[in-house]
Amino acid sequence: MPEYPRTAPRRTTGAPAPRRTSVPAPRRTGGAPRRRPAPRRRGTRRARAAGLARLAVCLTSAAVLLTSGVGWFAYHWLNNGLITSHALDALRDGAPRGRDGAVNVLLIGLDSRRDMNGNALPKEFVERELHAGSSEIGGYNTNTLILMHIPAGGGKVTAFSIPRDDYVEIAGGRGEHKIKEAYGLAKAEAEEKLVAEGVRGADLEHRGREAGREATLATVQKFLGVPIDHFAEVNLLGFYDIAKVVQPVQVCLKKPVRDRYSGADFPAGLQNLDARQALAFVRQRHGLDGGDLDRTRRQQAFLSSVTHKLKSQGVWGDVGKLQGLFDVVKKDVVIDDRWNILDFARQAPNLTGGNAEFHTLPIEGFATRKGEAVNLVDADKVRALVGKMIGGGSATASASPTGSGAGAGSGSGEASRSGSDGGSAGGGGGATSGASPGPVPSDAFQGPAVEMGGVPCVD
């Protein structure tokens, strides 16, 4: 059996000792080979452990940097390109005080057949898809005005639809008009001045619309006595485009309807609507018992159906799915420049989750003013009701802005509302403003409330 040397033979040549990877070879000055000292090995192990720890820290740090960077870019990718407006800036100083952390959002549906630059939409498209007649009609009426109150801490969302024909004092000393006309009146006024200054084209349209938004926001804020924190404006084309992304949308009708003006032709019961039908569904008012007020409930029901669908498909929690919706929103929807989508997502889980209730603000009756049929309203009563529901601070409600309470109007065709829609009931009518939140009789509003979170059946 061959004998192997127990230790490495002494080197006699001047060649360097083979290098070890982790530990440098001990210096040899001759004599018998020595064992490496134990403390040195401990030091090596400690150094290796320290190196691994350092590597782990560096990798974790890089991962954190990468993750936060991806999140940051994802947000900006989602958020970039939104059309924003400064219209709320003019309102902030005079806004009534709100409750801590609660957010009020005004949804504005603009009945315009023009694009963002004021160009008329293609005639065929308007007639065939939107079923909305010529680009010349409709003007800039805000046919949908819905104030959504999102309470601090994520409670139930309360939304108030303002009937478009409510006869109120328009902000900016423009006198009394239908609330839907505030936008168009202010826009026309502003454009007159701008044209005199030589402003033309898309710039004229943009600045005119800004004036219209300011007037609408100020009018609603004064009428309801609550601060408006954010707003979103969508026109007919925007609604159609959004409906195209989310279609088919399931709705439910209590009875069949047919209306040649809006193009609505639906059977009773549950049914799926495409974008064109969806627009007809929310625009129909002819042939409905409640007219405009029934249309308001249609809009509420449609919003509920869309929210229900988006929630059931998991769109709210999926950046990829949200992107498709956002592409349309970026094109057709105008929001205020301080609206942080993340904050809204944080504040509105109940809204996106369907925990919301729609009410239609009460009217006192119908009348004719300046040759037009209008809704008479008791502004004090409306403010008190809204304040009672959401605890809004309506300190500015010292005087009635409408001057057109029930029975106060002159002219022909005045009638008090009664019957099933009975809008004259209770609800703290004429009460002082700034009421605390509390129970409100169910008949205080115009008709029954529409609960979000499913597919409500409406007329």
């Binding site: 350092r54 820290v57 560096c58 974790t60 740090s61 890089a62 954190v64 940097l65 993750t67 936060s68 960077g69 991806v70 999140g71 940051w72 994802a74 947000y75 801490g153 994520g154 709210w316 929690g317 999926d318 950046v319 942080n340 993340l342 904050d343 997502a345 944080r346 504040q347 889980p349 109940n350 989750g353």
Partner: protein, 170 residues
Amino acid sequence: MGGRPTATRRRRTGGRDRRAWVPLLVPAALLASGAAVDAARGPGLGWLFAAAAALAAALAALTAPRGRAWWAAALPPLVIAAVAAVTQLLTGASGPHTGTTAMTAGIRWAMDSFPAIAAAEAAAVLVLTLRAVRTGRSARPDGSVRPGGSRRADGSRRAGRRRRGRAAHA
């Protein structure tokens, strides 16, 4: 007799290790103050937090002992991310009571922390690079450092080299 110097050395080394954390206290306090003030100004963390983070990282990179200077570049993302998350929790920007989705909370955290992390990393790398360039200029060709060549807060590196130098001569 032999035990006393060892114990003294251990005490000395331990003392130095403890002191090494002291310079990090100022940047940490700076970062926390920046987060607190920024959070008090409004929802989310903004430029003030990012500026405080950059300043804190620069300070840490300036005062870190040479052997541990890598901490100044590696730690900012972890510390800033933690501070942003804690701020988010404390200010109620996230939490089960609001029903916040994980995605929203995650993006909010990223929005709060990434600009500050990026600013802090940039500041730390810049200061560390400047330190390295300055040290490289003042180093002698044989690798030793001219007296006063290295700007040290605790002077440990200079002393260590001197010791090695003496050992080599001996």
